[in-house]
Every structure is written in structure tokens, then in C-alpha cells.
Symmetry: C2
Subunit: 351 residues, 2 copies
């Protein structure tokens, strides 16, 4: 499975290079900041795992037994959406590092420092907001380049709707993370759904299905499968955010604890600990100055109260839901097999 | 002319209401934050002057002697782009007021306060970034709804390119405003061009022209006219940002001075004053704590060194360029007359 995704990724990177070349040549703008952001965005975008983009191509292949240039263009579109979202995310989370390098807004912060600009952090944030928007614009440009014009409106409608949904999911996450009260399990799962699952899995599957001109029912089914996989993915992501190895994930250890992300781990843990432990946890979650010992303490409690097991039970609900829906797909068995392996991969990944 | 624009505006508002209704009904999302941002965005969007949207309809009318629903959809698209840009702008400029009300990010800041959330300013900014992105997504959705599908790719390509350009223009503005060195006149004019003129004037004209299926040459010509008008518009905007009446413009007096916007007024003034005045000005520009007396001092110097006149001379260069290009348009004289009146309106407006 990894080889297949890697093959897709290589094709996306190669097409992305020519896409950026066209933008560079054809835009009605000749300005050093244009070339600057173009270079940064290109470098940032090709450094991702490109699973979202690969899933568009997989989906087209599954539904129509071929991979056209159009699905590569849709893949680029999704990867650019992802770039824009991450650039904005790092501003919101005040993350200066991403994929082992300076995050984009922090690159601009440093650039502002080097130009002797005061208030460089805010300038970096502002330029970062623009850089994210620039990525979104390019995403739509890539979509508009497809050859099968008769599905363009459907693709744009789907892409626009899911981009809007991820915006609201992110809002909900930001507000919930800031709140003192514990969120409900439903709140957390719907943040997973809206903030991650739909744009990362339902959307790529859906774009591939739209390109293949399958029925609305098939589109809905593959989107629902995407939601389940996405929720599984996000729960694993939360685990990595707590116990992940800094060298592997390229982000500081315990970053989700520092950001006070309201995950299922957090919820189940808070509902299990005694008062003394709770008050200690409240001084740890959301505290940017914590170190390894505080992260270790959280992990100690997660083990003590068997939280990893409890979350796994929840994950398995979505796994069996996904499996059930996958069995209902009218596609070749080898693709169903791939989807099942993909779920397993998401359950096991460490980055 | 004002009556014509007002008529266009009424039609845009009415169609915008049904557009928001469709989004509310059809989205695969039922969440209170979805309905919340939808309401705020709608209220924000219908409170604008909608000149950009009106210009799409004017342009279609000019090139094809009719106004279709498609140009109203494109108008909504541009107005939503404008909303998203302003929402992000207010975060970058730390403007808590817009159109006489709390700016969108500041509304969320207050909401966070009311929920007892710490760090509410940053939460407001983060949710505001998402709200802006939400507006951009809806802009593309509106575009994808047009009936004349054969020009959809051209519309998306144009809209995406101009949205990317305004992103870079904004970056350039943010960085230039932060720099200590004086920018060149060319720098300032190209910020006017990229940050304001192209998306506010060239783009609406261009969308109307694309809907009318006119030649590439005609599209380029109307875009160039848009650039000239946009630069005239922005220079007038800069004047209002210095001498504007708070009750009329809905923003605090001297806001551009506080934000240290690098305008032609600023450049010409700095190049004219003596050392003592210059050092006083340097303590005023970019200082958020200044009051009426500091603003009056800046206006006093602008008069003393005849800067209003100098800027006007520059403006007139663009006016005559625009007039020349307007005369080359192959459209009915009444439309040319409208464009000339529109230039005059932009030269005289006080809000």
C-alpha cells in the first residue's frame, strides 16, 4: 500500500512542479513577494505525505479503472488546500515548527526580523494569513485546469462546501479548546468529523468519484467511509500528539497538551482521575512551559486509568462502521482490500 | 449614477439572501457554529456599498446589453471575497471597528469573553481567520452556480488569479508598512495596483466581460481601465484615512496614520519636511495612542507643503490614462459616460 501511495505522490509532485511553473509564467504580476511566496508554498507543499492527494487518484482508479490527469489536478488542489490550512493552523496554534522546519508564518517572522521590522511576530502572522489565502486561490486554479469541463461545477461545489466545513470545524475546535468546561464526546467527534475527516478523506474520495461520474448514492457512501476513516485517523493523530516522538513527527513533544486540545484522551482522562490528579492536570494542559516530566505524568495517568484501551474501544466502533460500508461498495475487491489496509495503516502509524 | 449602483445593490442583496438560504439548507453540516458564522457573514456582507458587485453587472450590461442572473452570482462572489478580505484585514490591522460596528474577529473576541475564555483576543483572531476562509469558500460556491457553464473555467481562473494577486499585494503592504526605510513611489503604486485596484475594479469588469464572451483584447483593456480607476480610488481612500470624518467612514479618525500605512501622502510629506518635523512625524506614524491633535498636526504639514496638490497631480496622471483607454472601448457612449462619471465620483467621495 505504501508503494502505491508513494507512486501517486511522485506523480503529484511532478505535476505540481509544472503547475507552479505555469503560475510563475502566466500571472499578471511580477513582484518579488509573488516569487517569494510561490517558492515557499511550493517547497512546503511538496514536503507533505500527500495522502489526501493520493486518495483522489485512488478513488478515480477505484471507480473508473484509470487515473487521468484530471485527478492529478484535483490532487494538487487538495494538497494546496491542505497547505493553506496548515499555514493558518500554525498561526492559530502558535506553532513555530512544522515538518521539522520553521512554519511558514515563522519564516516570515524571521524575515521581518532580518529586515529590522519591529513587531515582527505580528507581521509574520499577517503575512502568513496572506500566504494561506494565496494557497487557497491556487487550489481553485488547479481545479479549473481540468479537461473534463462538464463536471467542473460539481467539483467546485464539492470543494467549496468542504473547504467551508473545515473552516467551521476549525472554529469549533478553537472555541472548544479555549473553554473551561469539558466538551461532550459528541462535540469532540464532530470536531474530528468537520475539522479533519471530511476534507482529508471524504473530499478526496468524492472528487475521484465525481470525476468518474458515479451516482449520488455512491458518492454519499464513499464520503461516509471517508468520515469513518478520518475519525480513526484523527484519534491516532491525537495519540501521536501526546506520545509521539519529536524526531519522527517533526513537532515538539506534547504539543497537543500545551495547546489544550480537547481530545477523547483528554475527556476520558478528566472523567477518570481523582481531585488531586485533576488539579495537577489542569495546571499542565494549556501550559506552554511544560517539559518532558509533565508529559510523562500525563502518559502515566493515561496508563493508570486504562485510557488508551477505552479510546481504542471507541475507535473500533468506527472501524466496524467503515468495514460495513466498504462491503457495500460496488467496486472490485482489490480496492476494498486497499481501503481495509489503509484503515489498518492509520491505526498503526506513528507519524 | 448612484441610483444605478443602488439598483444593482438591491438585486445583489436579494439574490444573496436566497444564496445564503441555499447554503443553510443544503450543507452537510448542522452545527451551531455553522449557523453562527453564516449569520454574521450575511449581515456583514449586506452592509457594504457593493460597488464591486455592481461593477460586474455594469460590465455585463456594457458588453452585452443585458444583466443575467449569472452576473448577479458573480457579484455575490466578489462581495464575499471582499468580506473575507476585510475580515482578515481587520485582524492584521488590529482594527476592532468596521462599518461602525465591531469587526468580525472582535465580535468573536467578545463572544469568547462572554464564555469566560482566557486569551480571548487570540481566540477571536483565530476564529476570524476561519470566518474569512469560510467567506472565500462561499465565494467560489456562488461562482459555481452560474448557468453559462462554458465560461465557468475562465471565471474561476480569473477569480483565482486575482484572489492570489490581492494576497500578495496585502503581503507587500504589510511588509512595507513595517519597514523603516521609505518605500519608492513605484512600490506604493504597485501596492495600490495589487492590493486594491485589480480585485476591486479589474476583476469585476473582467467577470462581466467573460460572461459576455468578448475578445481577450477587450478583456485586457477593461482590466487596465479598472487598474487606473482602482489606483484613483485607493489614493482617495488614503486621503479619507487621514482627513475622513469618523461618523461618515465608520472607522476611527487617523487610522491609517496609526497603522503607519505607506501612502503617497506619507512619502511626499516625508520627502518635504525639515528634520524637526520629520522626527515628530516619526513619533506619530505607527503610534496607536495618538489623538486628534497629532492627526491635526499631520494635516497641518500636508497643507504647509502642498502635499494634497502634489498627490492630486499624480492622480490626474491616472485619470487621463483611464480616459484615454475608455475612449478606445467599443461600447455604447452611455457606458463610457458612466465610467467617466464613476471616476469623478471616486475623486470626490468622502467615505
Amino acid at each position: 500500500m505504501k508503494e502505491i501511495i508513494l507512486g501517486y505522490r511522485n506523480r503529484i509532485i511532478s505535476e505540481m512542479e509544472s503547475f507552479f511553473g505555469r503560475v510563475r509564467e502566466n500571472f499578471k504580476m511580477r513582484d518579488k513577494w509573488f516569487f517569494d511566496v510561490l517558492d515557499r508554498l511550493y517547497e512546503f507543499s511538496i514536503s507533505g505525505k500527500m495522502i489526501r492527494g493520493a486518495l483522489v487518484m485512488f478513488s478515480e482508479n477505484m471507480f473508473s479503472n484509470k487515473i487521468t490527469n484530471d485527478s492529478v489536478k484535483c490532487a494538487i488542489c487538495i494538497e494546496l488546500l491542505q497547505s493553506g490550512l496548515l499555514i493558518h493552523d500554525d498561526i492559530m496554534d502558535e506553532d513555530t515548527q512544522r515538518r521539522g522546519k520553521d512554519s511558514v508564518f515563522f519564516q516570515y517572522k524571521k524575515l521581518a526580523d532580518s529586515m529590522g521590522i519591529e513587531n515582527s511576530y505580528h507581521i509574520g502572522e499577517s503575512v502568513g494569513i496572506c500566504a494561506g489565502n494565496f494557497a487557497f486561490s491556487l487550489a481553485f486554479l488547479s481545479l479549473a485546469e481540468i479537461e473534463k469541463k462538464k463536471v467542473l461545477d460539481k467539483l467546485i461545489l464539492k470543494f467549496g462546501e468542504e473547504m467551508a466545513i473545515v473552516g467551521v470545524g476549525q472554529m469549533k475546535d478553537v472555541i472548544t479548546s479555549g473553554q473551561r468546561e469539558l466538551p461532550t464526546e459528541d462535540d469532540i467527534v464532530s470536531i474530528y468529523r468537520y475539522k479533519t475527516a471530511r476534507y482529508s478523506f471524504s473530499l478526496p474520495f468524492s472528487l475521484g468519484a465525481i470525476l468518474s461520474e458515479v451516482s449520488e448514492d455512491d458518492i454519499s457512501l464513499i464520503e461516509e467511509i471517508g468520515e469513518c476513516i478520518g475519525i480513526i485517523f484523527q484519534i491516532q493523530d491525537d495519540k501521536i500528539g501526546i506520545v509521539g516522538n519529536e524526531n519522527v513527527i517533526g513537532k515538539p513533544v506534547g504539543s497537543d497538551i500545551k495547546e489544550n486540545k480537547k481530545t477523547l484522551y483528554y475527556l476520558y482522562l478528566m472523567n477518570s482521575v481523582n481531585d488531586e490528579e485533576k488539579s495537577k492536570l489542569l495546571s499542565i494542559f494549556g501550559n506552554r512551559d511544560i517539559g518532558v516530566s509533565e508529559v510523562d505524568y500525563v502518559i502515566h495517568l493515561l496508563n493508570k486509568y486504562d485510557i488508551f484501551k477505552k479510546v481504542e474501544t471507541k475507535v473500533m466502533e468506527f472501524v466496524s462502521k467503515a468495514k460495513n460500508k466498504i462491503s457495500r461498495l460496488s467496486v472490485d475487491d482489490k480496492y476494498k482490500q486497499f481501503l481495509l489496509e489503509f484503515i489498518q495503516y492509520n491505526l498503526n502509524r506513528d507519524k
